[in-house]
Structures are given as structure tokens and as C-alpha cells.
């Protein structure tokens, strides 16, 4: 077991007081952004990224991934206590979580949510531990055509499998790819789409765009809502925790099913949202008394939380092994890795062993520490919501500005961030998805390089994408996925498919 030995080494890298401290700080910050209205996983990671610029890569990524775990945990708190899903994937948690809180079983529901998040992530991390090295060593044989085919597959599956209007996904993606190309062309050194502006010469920085798209736009959106809230306070006692854990084996089927769904949907860019609804619906379908769902049933908390976290974690698998993020947040983490000059992808496992296994080990540790932390500190975090939004909003704006400026020390980036904030606000309101844009912006240059290198290699012959079995089947699969809605329509007449219900 080479993976196991390397993992132990990873733990050894991590077990220093400094790293553990950073982990705690990251988790607390993460829960904080998860609980606050108008902030969430991707925003939190994007805004706090500059804090990590001066750290060494391992500490930095440990802190960032802990912010991510913390945000995932934090989302459950507001869903259950306040019936406010902090994130779209927490929506399914409110179905049974909030009724439980109303019945005075908030502590039970929270324990169930945290425990199942932990189980879901753990399953996904185990998957990463054993699958990622295999995939990456396989991918080491990839040449440019194979890589371009994999990128194509990612983009096509977003278009084909996404739930938004197809043309809106295409708009979002092509816009991201175009903006990624602004600035100096890496192959020929020529300037593209700069229109004589010296500021655009640097290109449009991915992180600046993300901070605007997710941070600033989220503040604008949150301000539209009525921000009054009423919620239950809850403290969790050890007795409740133990009684929930004692019953855990009874729900093994739900947990296993949701973990599987989550891992599957996390690796394919379908995302945690679909996973959480599917986990919930399947748990309901397999239950004996379906009517009790929605009225405060603990399985209704277990199922979506396990699936959402398994998928959120599994999204990191393609990012580490192939350099292709499976979710928006994974894309931001990828952007972070590139800031430190680390190129995610198969070579990462060879060239930066310490880093990769440190990160994977931090996923285990972060989840354990996170579980203990949330179980003990829920009352404190729930009361964060007492802080008026009028105080929180300007602080978030300032943090966004610091983040955007720190990346390249450019005032121009602040205005760019503001522009992207408006774009993000409008796009979200008219249903243009932001995840494909984020993904395209971060992958744009690599996709183009892979395309051009394969074209140079083949002398401009498109047949290179079908030149051998591997690249041919990936390309074909990509095209099938692109037209999947049409194919599906043709097939669905014959077979009935499981379909996650609308919220």
C-alpha cells in the first residue's frame, strides 16, 4: 500500500502546532462565513485567500480547505435553526431539520447533520486517497489531445447535464473562456483583446473575478431580501450526541446510499445541490412510511447532508488528479494553487508529493477537528446571526477589496471586481449559471494550450482527437454529453429515470 505510507507521511507533515492552529483558525472562519447570510463556501474561500499568500503552500491549502469544511458545516446550522439554507445544497436539510428544531429536537438534528456531513466527507476522502493516485498515474500518459478531450468533456457535461437553460450555460462558459484569453498570448507572445489598454495586458485575474462574482454580488442579492429572522437556540449536550450516534447503525443504508450518490455526482460536475436532493428523495422513496418525511424525521437530515458533503469533497478528486475542478469552490482552490505556482494535475502527485498528501491528510484531520468544533460551539455561532447585517455588509465589502487588491497590487482590479459584482448580480437574477464561467475562466488557458499543442502536433488535423482508443472515447463521450438532453428525450419515452424533484 503505497498510498497508505504516503498518507502517514502526510499526517507527519501536518502534526505541528502551527498547522493545527491554522486548521482551527480556518475552520472557525469557515463556520463563520457559512453561518453569515450572503456568504458561503466559494465566497469565503475567495475572500480569505489573500490571507494565505504569505504562507507556505501546505499551510495555505490546509487553511483554505478547512475554511471550506467549516463553511459546509456552518450551512447546516442556519438551515436547521432558522430555516434559512446558507447554501443551495442545504435546502434539502431544511425539509426535516427545521421541523425537528420546532419540536425542540434541534440538538438532535444538528448532531445528525454534523455527523452525516462527517461521514459523507470521510467516504469521499477515502475515495480520493485510493483513487486519485491511480487516476493521476494513468493521466501521466496523457498528451495534449487527451487533455483537451478531458477539458472538452468537462465543458460539455456542464452544458448537457446542467439544469439551467442550455444557451445560458453556453453563454457563461464561452464568456469565461474568452475572458481567460485576454492579455498576452502564451504561445506567440502577441496581445489579444486588450484594445491598447495597459491594465488589460496582465489579463483578467481569475480570483479578482471570483471575488466580484461571488462576494460583491452576494451582498447586493442579500440586501434585496427581508433580513429579519427568528430561530431556535440550541446547545448540544454529550448525552444527545451519544444517543444519536447509538442509533446511527440503523440508518446505514441511507448513509451508504447518500455517500455513493454524493461521490458520483461530485466527481462528475453535477454538484452538491443535485446530490442533496437526490439523497433526500431516495431516502424517502425507500422508507416504509413516506408521509413522515418533512415532519421532522432524522433520516431526512442524514440523507441530504451526507450526499452534499460527499459530493463537495469528491469534487476535489478530479481537481487533484486531473487539474479539473468538480465544483465552483474547487475551481477557486485550484486558482489558489496556481498562485503558489503549483499546477494541479497528474504531475502534482509526482513533483509535490508532500503537498498532495499533506492536503489529503488535512481532509481527514480537518473533518475530525471540525466535527468536534461544531458540536461544542454551536450556540456561539448561532448567535452570530444577532449581529445586524448593516455591520456585516461593509466589512465583507472591505474584505473583498483587500482580497482583490492583494492579488496583483493593482487598483484596476478593484474596479474590475466591482464590475464583476454587478455582472454576477444580474447573471444570478436572470439565471445564467456562474459555475461554468468560473470553471472556464480558470481552465481557459490550459484548454487553449492543449488544443493548440495538439493541432501543432497533428498539423491541423482534427482527426487527432480520435487518433487512439482513449482520446477517441473521451471525445465521443463529450459530444454525447453535449447532446445528452436530446438523447435523453429520445430515451425517456422508453425508460423512466430517477429524477431529483424540484425544490
Amino acid at each position: 500500500m503505497e498510498a497508505f505510507g504516503l498518507l502517514l507521511h502526510g499526517f507527519a507533515v501536518l502534526l505541528t502546532w502551527k498547522t493545527l492552529l491554522l486548521m482551527m483558525v480556518g475552520l472557525v472562519l469557515g463556520i463563520f462565513v457559512g453561518v453569515l447570510p450572503g456568504l458561503g463556501g466559494p465566497n469565503g474561500v475567495a475572500i480569505l485567500l489573500p490571507l494565505t499568500f504569505t504562507m507556505d503552500p501546505t499551510s495555505a491549502i490546509v487553511m483554505l480547505s478547512c475554511i471550506y469544511w467549516g463553511a459546509l458545516f456552518g450551512g447546516a446550522i442556519t438551515s436547521i435553526l432558522f430555516n434559512i439554507p446558507g447554501e443551495a445544497w442545504s435546502v434539502a436539510t431544511t425539509f426535516d431539520g427545521y421541523p425537528m428544531a420546532q419540536q425542540g429536537r434541534a440538538a438532535e438534528a444538528l448532531t445528525a447533520a454534523f455527523t452525516s456531513s462527517f461521514i459523507g466527507s470521510l467516504v469521499a476522502v477515502l475515495l480520493i486517497t485510493f483513487l486519485a493516485p491511480m487516476i493521476s498515474s494513468f493521466a501521466l500518459k496523457f498528451g495534449p489531445p487527451e487533455f483537451f478531450a478531458v477539458y472538452l468533456l468537462t465543458f460539455c457535461s456542464f452544458v448537457g447535464l446542467g439544469r439551467e437553460a442550455k444557451h445560458k450555460t453556453v453563454i457563461s462558459m464561452s464568456l469565461g473562456l474568452l475572458l481567460a484569453g485576454v492579455g498576452m498570448d502564451t504561445v506567440s507572445g502577441q496581445l489579444r483583446m486588450t484594445f491598447g489598454s495597459a491594465e488589460l495586458l496582465r489579463g483578467i485575474n481569475f480570483l479578482v473575478a471570483v471575488i466580484g462574482l461571488f462576494g460583491i454580488s452576494e451582498i447586493l442579492l442579500t440586501m434585496e431580501e427581508r433580513l429579519a429572522l427568528r430561530g431556535h437556540a440550541a446547545g448540544i449536550s454529550l448525552r444527545v450526541v451519544l444517543s444519536v450516534w447509538k442509533d446511527l447503525p440503523k440508518y446505514w443504508a441511507t448513509l451508504a446510499r447518500s455517500s455513493f450518490i454524493g461521490c458520483w455526482l461530485g466527481i462528475t460536475p453535477g454538484g452538491a445541490i443535485a446530490a442533496s436532493f437526490m439523497g433526500y428523495n431516495l431516502a424517502k422513496r425507500f422508507a416504509k412510511d413516506q408521509d413522515s418525511f418533512g415532519k421532522g424525521r432524522i433520516e431526512g437530515v442524514f440523507a441530504p447532508e451526507t450526499a452534499a458533503h460527499a459530493s463537495g469533497t469528491a469534487a476535489l478528486l478530479p481537481m487533484l488528479a486531473l487539474g479539473i475542478p468538480g465544483s465552483g469552490t474547487a475551481a477557486i482552490l485550484l486558482g489558489g494553487l496556481m498562485v503558489w505556482g503549483l499546477n494541479p494535475g497528474p504531475l502534482l502527485f509526482v513533483e509535490h508529493k508532500d503537498f498532495v498528501w499533506g492536503l489529503i491528510a488535512s481532509m481527514y484531520l480537518g473533518n475530525v477537528v471540525g466535527l468536534v468544533l461544531v458540536l461544542t460551539t454551536v450556540p456561539i455561532f448561532a448567535s452570530i446571526l444577532r449581529v445586524p447585517f448593516a455591520a456585516v455588509a461593509p466589512m465583507i465589502v472591505v474584505s473583498c477589496a483587500i482580497g482583490a487588491y492583494a492579488i496583483q497590487n493593482a487598483m484596476f482590479d478593484i474596479w474590475l471586481m466591482l464590475g464583476f459584482g454587478v455582472v454576477g448580480y444580474v447573471f444570478k437574477k436572470i439565471g445564467i449559471p456562474l459555475a461554468p464561467f468560473t470553471l472556464a475562466l480558470v481552465l481557459g488557458n490550459r484548454a487553449e494550450d492543449a488544443f493548440r499543442l495538439s493541432m501543432i502536433g497533428s498539423g491541423g488535423d482534427m482527426k487527432v482527437f480520435w487518433s487512439n482508443g482513449l482520446v477517441g472515447s473521451i471525445t465521443t463521450l463529450a459530444i454525447i454529453l453535449l447532446f445528452w438532453p436530446l438523447i435523453d428525450k429520445a430515451l425517456s419515452g422508453a425508460t423512466r429515470r430517477l429524477r431529483p424533484a424540484k425544490a
Binding site: 474568452l178 427581508r226 483587500i402
Partner: protein
């Protein structure tokens, strides 16, 4: 439904009224965005065509990849324009109400002013002004609380970034006077 154990209550006195008239509908915004994107696609496409979107001896020219992306973007936004104009279902949905727009502007305008102030006064003074001003005038929070919060937050940011982590932020006359 028992609400006896509700313990955390936060009110929102300036919440937008629910019955406020709509400023514009989703359909209109959809069409406008499609038009803007179409214009962008044409501009970028033209620029890439100028750069060179054909093939030369070494393979595709620098404009090749982005040129075809502009074509895709243009096509998709054209489709979006038609879809927005001809679909009746989505078109009637409210994009934003007057009350909501007022609230959004209440945070957007100060943010723009903050960015301007950042250029002239430096980040820290600007953020002190933004936080205290926003809390006092938009959030209607007591002046001493607003000023104190703004001061503590700004000072904490300064210590964290400029001193502890060496992330240098833009500074203005005040910092210069203090010797930073």
C-alpha cells in the same frame, strides 16, 4: 407549531416592502443582457479576426481559439435574445422592485464611493469611513457603536495584513503622516 422556544429574533426595520411596484421584468433584462453580450462578442470577434484567426505554418494563429469562442458566444446570445423576446412565461417575472432597488443602491453606491476613496485616502481610512457611515446611516445603529466597530475592524485589518502578513495595501495621507 409551537414557537415557545424561539430564542433568537432579529428584526429588519428597513426591509423592502413586499408590494412595491416592479422596476423592470426579467424578460427585459434578459434581452438587454443578450444584446450587450452580442455586442461584446462582435467586438472581441473582430479584434481576434484582426489578430489573426486563421492557420499558418506553425498551427492556429493566436486569434483562432478566441475567435471561434466569440462566434459561439454571439450565437448563444442571439438565441437568448430571441428566447427572451418570444417567451411570455419568464418575461413577466419581476426582476427587481423599487423598494429592492433602493436597498441594493444603498449598498452599491457606498461601495463605489469606497473604491474611489480607496484611491485617494488609502484602504484603511476608506474602510473606516465605509463601515461607520454604513452602520450609522443605512443600518441606523448608534453613532458610538458604529465608530467603535469601524475603528476596531480597520485596526484589526491593518495589524493582520500590513504588519503580521506583510500584504501591503494602498495608503493615503493619514498613513503617511503617521509614518507608514
Amino acid at each position: 407549531m409551537s414557537n415557545t422556544d424561539i430564542e433568537i429574533v432579529v428584526d429588519d426595520p428597513t426591509a423592502p416592502e413586499a408590494n412595491s411596484p416592479a422596476v423592470t421584468s426579467n424578460g427585459v433584462v434578459d434581452a438587454v443582457v443578450s444584446l450587450v453580450l452580442l455586442a461584446l462578442a462582435v467586438t472581441l470577434g473582430w479584434d481576434n479576426w484582426r489578430t489573426g484567426a486563421a492557420w499558418d505554418a506553425t498551427g492556429p494563429e493566436p486569434g483562432y481559439f478566441p475567435f471561434y469562442l466569440s462566434v459561439i458566444l454571439g450565437g448563444a446570445s442571439l438565441y437568448g435574445l430571441f428566447a427572451a423576446v418570444f417567451s411570455r412565461r419568464e418575461a413577466s417575472e419581476t426582476f427587481v422592485t423599487q423598494a429592492q432597488l433602493r436597498r441594493v443602491m444603498a449598498v452599491f453606491v457606498p461601495t463605489v464611493l469606497f473604491c474611489l476613496a480607496m484611491q485617494l485616502l488609502g484602504l484603511y481610512v476608506a474602510s473606516f469611513l465605509l463601515i461607520s457611515g454604513f452602520m450609522r446611516f443605512v443600518g441606523k445603529i448608534a453613532a458610538w457603536k458604529s465608530l467603535l466597530t469601524a475603528f476596531i475592524f480597520t485596526a484589526a485589518m491593518f495589524v493582520t495584513f500590513d504588519i503580521a502578513f506583510d500584504v501591503i495595501m494602498p495608503k493615503g495621507p493619514l498613513e503617511a503622516a503617521l509614518g507608514y
